[in-house]
């Protein structure tokens, strides 16, 4: 594998100009995740709208410090998940997770992952997989926490 294959232009673009970056209010929950082996950190906020199966990710905002892989991955993730239903978002997260843990042997679901497919090469570098997953795991943690505080068919957040 070459440097160009790992560091695709789309990754460098997201790294230089990350989408949805910066912490915004209102939000339902804020989580802080770290990658202790490399010192990368992310603070991520999630705002949900609606209830039950119709719960939608209204906003994902974040700030943090990390390598191009972790920053681009979080930026691409926010693009994919903002506006999606939580159920769709969790499916995308699961698919991305599967790709990252696939050691480069897993064919990505291009329709579902869209730009995140550009990160497929990371799976061949186990030391970097946790960089790519940092923002996703933070998002999933945040969403699970919010849903855990709501009744299954609860009222919309005010």
């Amino acid at each position: 594998m070459s440097a160009d294959a790992l560091y695709q232009e789309i990754i460098l673009d997201h790294y230089r100009r990350p989408h949805h970056k910066g912490l915004r209010a209102p939000y339902d929950i804020e989580v802080h995740h770290t990658n202790p082996t490399c010192g990368d950190e992310i603070t991520l906020r999630v705002r949900l709208r609606g209830s039950g199966d119709e719960t939608v990710v209204e906003d994902v905002s974040y700030d943090g410090d990390g390598c191009s892989i972790s920053q681009a991955s979080t930026s691409i993730m926010a693009d994919l998940l903002v506006g999606a239903t939580v159920a769709e978002g969790l499916e995308v997260e699961a698919e991305f997770h599967r790709l990252m843990l696939g050691l480069g042997q897993v064919a990505p679901d291009v329709d579902r992952l869209a730009d995140a497919v550009a990160l497929a090469g990371v799976a061949r570098y186990p030391a970097r997989v946790k960089c790519a997953l940092l923002g996703w795991l933070a998002w999933k943690d945040a969403v699970v926490q919010v849903l855990g505080t709501r009744p299954a068919t609860g009222e919309p957040t005010p």
Binding site: S2, Y7, L12, T37, G39, D40, G66, C67, S68, C131
Partner: protein, 426 residues
């Protein structure tokens, strides 16, 4: 042809034949990513191993394998002899006046934990209890910080520390204030694994002894690179690890002054560390076996013995001079790269061969990954010294670290790789 161009890219000290040294290290001939010659600049993480060490380990397993200090049969005698000869070799290497004060441990971490744990249970004056003070520095590797945090938490002692100056030196201006009659132990790193700084441990030890404190020196990054003489260093206890000095993993050393090691209680209990045992209690073996419970890492210790014999053959003063020149060359070359900042002393004065740096706008992980594509192996992250990174407001750095086999040509490869990193990230 000038003399310099007669041996391009080798550099180092006059008369030091780095190419001959490199031939002793098979791993240095490797290619990575297809056709890229390996440029191994991660010796501060672990050194490569010379053939002499690998052969000593293999010879032990092929011909002499037995447990030590157990049997009367031929192989047991041979194994015990080789294991104890390794202790003699290490004692000579660090100029220990007494070979029984060389204790084999798993690594530096275990050696330091041995001291920190047993001080909790020791009799005065070595006992650490409520109101006592433990002095460390902001420059410590986690292995010489967390054991002392645990000791403070477990005993009610107070953990204090010396800070770091902007230029990456220990800030000694508060040393007199921080050393008090309550200071029981001063634990300080000899050479920083992240900044490269060589600390004035002898002077620190002298002042610590004036208040009656014990002094432990973490020599993990000095033993492989500088002549280490525990008889003049001033420390009461010295810890270092084999794998950074050409030996296998799984073997380290705690050296201590005899009166200190005799006064501290046992650490791990088990076989080998006893004198007699009844169902109710035991009496303990004399040094060094008091601290070597259970079957030790025999082959690894023999490997360490071979490693220090190898290093002595090359010559520690010559290795130090060579690495000093390579480091000076690297500091000069890195300083010319735009947007690169060295974290730690920027001159080779009182400086070891680990060089940390950051590049504007490019995360160290990306630097390390792109260098790897060019065959250049460096370490990225906080280098198990997160407080140092925090001190400089950084989550992490890239670190190139050199050894007895490093050439200035490899430094050139690093610099070329970093120029390429800058091209990719713009």
């Amino acid at each position: 042809m000038t003399q310099a161009s007669a041996s391009p890219g080798t550099g180092g000290a006059p008369g030091y034949d780095v190419e001959a040294v490199r031939k002793d290290f098979p791993a240095l001939d490797r290619l990575v990513h297809g056709d890229r010659p390996l440029v191994y600049l991660d010796s501060a993480a672990t050194s490569q191993k010379p053939r002499a060490v690998l052969e000593a380990v293999e010879d032990f397993y092929l011909r002499h394998n037995a447990n030590v200090h157990r049997g009367v049969h031929t192989l047991a005698e041979e194994a015990t002899g080789l294991y104890e000869q390794a202790r003699d070799s290490v004692a000579r290497f660090i100029n220990a006046p007494d070979r029984d004060t060389v204790v084999f441990t798993k690594n530096s971490t275990e050696a330091i934990n041995l001291v920190a744990f047993t001080m909790m249970l020791a009799d005065p004056p070595y006992r650490v209890g409520p109101g006592d003070e433990i002095l460390v520095t902001e420059m410590e590797h986690h292995s010489n910080l967390v054991p002392w945090q645990l000791l403070a938490q477990r005993t009610g002692a107070r953990l204090r520390w010396l800070g770091i100056t902007d230029s990456g030196r220990l800030d000694l201006s508060r040393l007199d204030e921080l050393l008090t009659p309550a200071t029981t132990i001063v634990a300080v790193v000899h050479v920083s694994n992240i900044l490269g700084t060589i600390n004035p441990v002898t002077e620190i030890a002298r002042r610590a002894h004036e208040v009656g404190a014990l002094v432990l020196v973490d020599a993990s990054q000095s033993a492989p690179h500088l002549p280490l003489d525990v008889s003049t260093l001033g420390a009461d206890l010295v810890a270092f690890t084999g794998h950074k000095m050409c030996a296998p993993t799984g073997i380290g050393v705690l050296w201590g002054r005899r009166e200190v090691l005799e006064a501290l209680p046992p650490f791990l209990g088990g076989g080998e560390m006893i004198d007699t045992v009844t169902m109710e209690s035991a009496t303990y073996a004399a040094l060094p076996h008091k601290y070597e419970a259970g079957t030790p890492p025999i082959a690894e210790a023999i490997g360490l013995g071979a490693a220090v014999t190898y290093l002595t053959g090359v010559g520690m003063p010559a290795i130090a001079a060579h690495e000093h020149q390579v480091t000076a060359y690297a500091l000069g070359a890195l300083a010319e790269l735009p947007g690169l900042r060295i974290i730690g002393p920027s001159t080779p004065v009182d400086r070891g061969s680990a060089v940390s740096f950051v590049m504007d706008g490019i995360h160290p992980h990306d630097v390390g990954q792109l260098l790897d594509f060019a065959g250049v192996a460096v370490r990225v992250g906080h280098h198990c010294a997160r407080p140092v990174c925090s001190r400089f407001g950084l989550p992490s750095t890239t670190r190139a670290s050199f050894g007895l086999y490093t050439t200035t040509g490899e430094v050139d490869a690093l610099v070329a790789g970093l120029r390429r990193v800058r091209e990719v990230f713009g």
